[in-house]
C-alpha cells in the first residue's frame, strides 16, 4: 500500500532528514539546489536539499552545503543502522533556470560537487537527473529506493 500524504517527511531548503520507516521523504522547488538521496537495501535512507557546493571553514548548518551535508547524512544514516558498505546515491536538481551571475552556474557546480563528494566517500551514484533549465520537486521512498521527480507541465520521472 502506498503511504498517504499524511506520512510524508518534508525536507526544506538547506535541510536534511533520514529515516528507517517506509515514509517518503519529499522536497519541493529545486532550482539550482540539489536533492541528494542515499539509502541501503534495508530501507534506511535520507534526503538532503543542499544550496551550495562547498562549506566554509565554520559551518552553522551542514545541510546547506553539498560536502558537509553528504558527510552528515552518511553519519546519521550509519547511526540509524544503515550499512555504509551498501549505500548508493541518486541526485536531482542543479538546474540553470535563470541567466544569473558570472562564471559557471551554481547549479552545475552543485551537481559536480555531488559527484565528486560521493566518489570521495566511495558511494556509488546510481542515477541522476541534473542540469537543464526546469525546476523540480522530489519524493523519495527509502523502502524501494525510488526517487520520483516532478516538473511543471511534464510527466514524472522515476529514478
Amino acid at each position: 500500500m502506498l503511504p498517504t500524504a499524511d506520512e510524508r517527511i518534508r525536507v526544506g531548503v538547506a535541510d536534511m532528514a533520514v529515516t528507517d520507516e517506509s515514509r517518503p521523504l519529499v522536497t519541493s522547488g529545486l532550482g539550482s539546489c540539489v536533492a541528494v538521496v542515499i539509502h541501503d537495501e534495508r530501507g534506511v535512507g535520507g534526503l538532503l536539499h543542499a544550496m551550495l557546493p562547498e562549506a566554509p571553514e565554520t559551518v552553522d548548518n551542514p545541510a546547506k552545503y553539498v560536502d558537509s551535508g553528504i558527510s552528515q547524512m552518511v553519519t546519521e544514516l550509519t547511526r540509524l543502522g544503515g550499512d555504509p558498505n551498501a549505500f548508493v546515491a541518486k541526485v536531482a536538481g542543479g538546474s540553470s533556470m535563470l541567466d544569473l551571475g558570472n562564471g559557471a552556474p551554481v547549479g552545475e557546480k552543485n551537481a559536480a560537487a555531488t559527484t565528486a563528494v560521493l566518489e570521495a566517500v566511495d558511494i556509488d551514484l546510481v542515477a541522476e537527473d541534473t542540469g537543464g533549465n526546469a525546476g523540480r520537486s522530489v519524493s523519495f521512498h527509502p523502502a524501494t529506493g525510488t526517487m520520483t521527480i516532478q516538473r511543471v507541465n511534464a510527466d514524472p520521472i522515476e529514478l
Binding site: 498517504t4 500524504a5 529545486l30 532550482g31 551571475g101 526546469a134
Partner: protein, 389 residues
C-alpha cells in the same frame, strides 16, 4: 538612530529556533506533522502593518513585557483553525477555540524565551485573549513611523493548513536592543530614518508600477503590501508557493546589484496577457511578449526610482522569462545571493489587479550595495518628487 542590520540576524536565528520549537510543540499537541515554512523580519511603516494580517478569521493575542515589551498574534483561517482543533490530543471539547490559546502560549514562549536568554533578563507573557479584528490589535506607537514584525509561517498536516505567528516588539525598545547588540562602526550599520526613506521610495515605485499596469491592461490595480523583509537565505524560496508561476526575472547592477522577480500565478498571467493583447489566448509568443513587457515596466518602476533618488545609474538586464515552480525560481536567486551573504533583504510587493488577480514582485538587493545606497539617501527626501517611468 543607527542600527547594525547584521544584529537582526541574531534575532532572526533566535526566532527561527523558537519557531521550530513551537512547531514541534504544535505537532505534539495535534499528533500531525508541522513544518516552519519561513521565519522573517518585516520592517514596515506602521500604517501598513495591518495589511500583513490578511485572511484572518481566528486570532489569539498575547502581550509580553520585561526585557522587551510587545504583542504576539497567532492567526488562522477558519479551515485551519478547525483542523487544528479537531486534531488536538486530549481535550474532550476540542472544538472550543479556547484550546488555540494553549498553542499561542507555547509559540509566544518559544520566541520570547530565546530573546530573554540573549538579553539576560526575563520576559513575561500575559493570558491569551481572542482577538476579533487583528488589524485593530496592532499597537499604536505614535512616536515611531516604522516597526519590526517577526513572522513565522507554520504548515500543519498534509493539506493546505497552517497558521501565521506574528511578534511585534515595541519599536523603540527593540531598536535600542538592536543598537546594543550591534557593533559600533560595522559596515552593516544604517540610519533607521534613511532605511525608512528607502522603503517609502520603494513603496512609491510599487504605486507607479500599479498605475502603469492599470493603464496598460485597463484593470483596476492596487498595491496590497509593500515592506522590507529580512530573511535567512534558505527561507527565501518559501515566501512563494511551490505552484506554477509565469513571469520575468531581471538582474540589476550599478550603485546597487541584485535581482528582481515579477511573478504571476499561471491563470493570472493568462488574464493579464489577454488584457494587454486581447483575443489571442492561444498565441504563446504574444503571451510571453506581454508578460515580458509588463516585467520591463515593473523593473523600471522600481529600479529607476532608486537610481533617480540617488542621482546615479542602476541598469537592469533584459527579462528572463520563466514559466515554472515559483519556489524553484526564488531558489535559484537565493542560491546566487547565498554565495556572498547569509541573509537576504527582500522587498515583497503584492499588486492586485481585478479580482482575484495577484502579481508578486520581489526585489533582492545585494547586502553590501543595499547598505551603501541606503546610507547615501537624504533621510528627508520627498519620495513623491522622484522622477519615474
Amino acid at each position: 538612530m543607527r542600527v547594525d542590520l547584521a544584529s537582526l540576524g541574531t534575532f532572526n536565528r533566535i526566532g527561527t529556533a523558537g519557531a521550530a520549537r513551537a512547531a514541534d510543540a504544535l505537532a505534539t499537541l495535534t499528533d500531525v506533522d508541522t513544518y516552519v515554512e519561513t521565519t522573517k523580519i518585516n520592517f514596515a511603516p506602521l500604517d501598513t502593518i495591518s495589511a500583513l494580517f490578511t485572511d484572518v478569521e481566528t486570532a489569539v493575542g498575547i502581550e509580553f513585557e520585561g526585557a522587551l515589551d510587545g504583542h504576539a498574534l497567532l492567526v488562522f483561517d477558519e479551515p485551519s483553525a478547525d483542523y487544528v482543533l479537531s486534531h488536538l490530543v486530549g481535550p474532550e471539547s476540542a472544538s472550543d477555540p479556547v484550546y488555540l490559546h494553549e498553542v499561542a502560549i507555547i509559540m509566544t514562549s518559544s520566541f520570547v524565551d530565546g530573546w530573554a536568554e540573549l538579553l539576560g533578563e526575563t520576559i513575561d507573557i500575559s493570558t491569551p485573549t481572542a482577538v476579533d479584528e487583528p488589524p485593530l490589535h496592532v499597537p499604536d506607537h505614535d512616536l515611531a513611523d516604522f516597526s519590526f514584525v517577526f513572522q513565522s509561517d507554520v504548515h500543519v498536516g498534509p493539506e493546505d493548513h497552517g497558521c501565521r505567528f506574528y511578534l511585534l516588539p515595541e519599536p523603540h525598545r527593540f531598536l535600542e536592543v538592536l543598537q546594543e547588540a550591534g557593533e559600533d562602526g560595522a559596515e552593516s550599520v544604517v540610519n533607521v530614518r534613511e532605511l525608512s526613506t528607502f522603503i517609502r521610495l520603494t513603496a512609491a515605485g510599487a504605486e507607479t508600477v500599479a498605475e502603469n499596469l492599470e493603464s496598460m491592461t485597463g484593470m483596476q490595480t492596487d498595491v496590497a503590501v509593500s515592506h522590507l523583509d529580512f530573511v535567512p537565505i534558505e527561507d527565501v524560496p518559501g515566501v512563494v508557493p511551490a505552484d506554477e508561476f509565469v513571469g520575468t526575472v531581471f538582474q540589476f547592477s550599478g550603485a546597487m546589484d541584485g535581482y528582481l522577480a515579477v511573478l504571476f500565478e499561471e491563470s493570472a498571467a493568462n488574464t493579464v496577457a489577454d488584457a494587454l493583447v486581447p483575443g489571442t489566448p492561444e498565441d504563446e509568443a504574444l503571451r510571453r511578449s506581454a508578460i515580458e513587457e509588463i516585467g520591463n515596466i515593473t523593473a523600471s518602476g522600481f529600479i529607476d526610482g532608486w537610481a533617480n533618488a540617488l542621482d546615479t545609474t542602476i541598469d537592469h538586464s533584459v527579462p528572463d522569462f520563466i514559466d515554472d515552480m515559483g519556489r524553484a525560481v526564488l531558489d535559484s536567486i537565493a542560491v546566487q545571493l547565498g554565495l556572498d551573504q547569509e541573509f537576504a533583504y527582500v522587498f515583497d510587493v503584492t499588486v492586485t489587479a481585478g479580482d482575484p488577480l495577484t502579481c508578486r514582485v520581489f526585489a533582492f538587493p545585494d547586502a553590501e550595495g543595499f547598505r551603501t545606497v541606503v546610507s547615501g539617501l537624504d533621510e528627508d527626501l520627498d519620495v513623491s518628487s522622484v522622477e519615474r517611468v
